[in-house]
């Protein structure tokens, strides 16, 4: 019943299988690595396919792995959720984890905040209406975020109608972006060579 093409595949498959006879410890390690890198819980079906091992073997390995996590008082646990397996922190440690997550590094910014920060950095001192004009979008929440992260500071009122508040970058901004002072900020001219190199080759 085998066609030519299938014969080929079969030959490869069996060859592969003979190479991959894994010990239970190896199955445990491989399953652990797969579950770790996965964005979603991994089913035993998928594990069995990827590892080329029977469902029973995989399930036994997972049980052992789960017990291992539990018995060594690890900060992590292996658990079954939504029909698949996943590695997660132990519930008892949630407070510690939350405490850590609260202090996220301030250089992490949303695109909106980064755009606003870029406009402020290069146009300072600048007012909110000016930022709005350049970005073409409201920047109120981005400015709030930047103020909260202390990347920008107020720079007094502009002496025009309505006396709008002016904004500029802070000392924290210099630290976060590894700049000695604002003159360290690269200008468009600094990258002119890089840009023209591109244009020449296009």
């Amino acid at each position: 019943m085998t066609e030519n093409v299938q014969e080929n595949n079969e030959a490869e498959l069996t060859e592969g299988q003979s190479n991959t006879a894994k010990s239970p410890a190896e199955i445990m390690a491989a399953a652990e690595a797969i579950i770790f890198v996965s964005d979603e819980p991994v089913t035993t079906k998928i594990l069995s396919e990827v590892l080329g091992e029977s469902r029973e073997m995989v399930e036994a390995a997972l049980e052992m792995l789960k017990n291992e996590y539990a018995s060594r008082e690890s900060g992590l646990q292996l658990r079954e959720i939504a029909g698949g397996w996943q590695i997660a922190t132990r519930a008892e440690l949630h407070e510690t984890v939350r405490k850590f997550l609260k202090r996220s590094p301030s250089a992490k910014l949303s695109i909106a905040a980064l755009e606003t920060l870029a406009v402020i950095a290069y146009k300072q001192p600048v007012t909110i209406p000016e930022i709005l004009e350049i970005r073409g979008v409201q920047s109120a929440s981005a400015i709030r975020t930047l103020l909260e992260k202390r990347l920008i500071v107020t720079k007094g009122h502009r002496e025009t109608v309505g006396r709008p508040m002016q904004y500029g970058t802070s000392k924290e901004f210099l630290i976060q972006f590894g700049l000695r002072d604002l003159s360290d900020l690269p200008s468009i001219e600094d990258f002119q060579d890089l840009v023209s190199a591109n244009l020449e080759n296009q």
Partner: protein, 260 residues
Amino acid sequence: MVIAVNEAAEQYLFDFEKEQPEIVAESRDELKLKLGGFAGPLDLLLFLIKQEKANIFDIPIAKITDEYLKYIRLMKSLDIAVAADFLVMAATLIEIKSKMLLPREPAQEAEEEFEDPREELIQQLVEYEKFRAAAEMLYEKSTIEQAIFTRGRIETDDNNSEINATVFDLLNVFQKVLLRFKEQVKLEIEREEISLAEMIDRVKSRLRSSGEVLLTDFFSELRSRRELVTAFIAVLEIVRTEKVSLKQNRTFGEIILRSV
């Protein structure tokens, strides 16, 4: 991509089996053609020196110059754009070669240290080769590193819109914003101002699709003062003629336009 080697090219000394001609494009904009993937004139020079089994501290300059020029001609015959730096090196080699051919003046010979015309090039090659070796080391390190994976996404990961920005990002983003700004200004000039009737239709269709319109949201989408005024009149007109209501939950709170 492999360039077909024509018969004329085969007379050259290159081992084309070993040094596969190919186009190395680091990025679309760098599309730099390289034969055998030479990263620059020094790279090519080192290759030729090794091929000749020559001593780098005593380069047979005439021979190497000939080889080098043959190579440049080959590139040209294959219609490969020769980077300016390769030509600069060709000129340097020719200069050194001619200096070597000049008879040494007795006075010069008497000098304690006769300056070898090759000296500077040798120093440059020795220095370059160190970094060439370091580049290979980096390549190996990155290969090893690519065999190691970090965890997949978990619940507590931030939205992927968050980025760890560098100064370069800042400038890039600023340029993008400026570009967008220019295009927007152009658009505004090209576009005719929206009429009151069109504005009324716009608000009505928004009401139909979502049942209510947050006025601050709607107004913030508008691009000019005149549009804002038109929109304001349109809303008043709709309140007057349609079965809608304007609601505000608290003083200075959001104003919501809602079908009744």
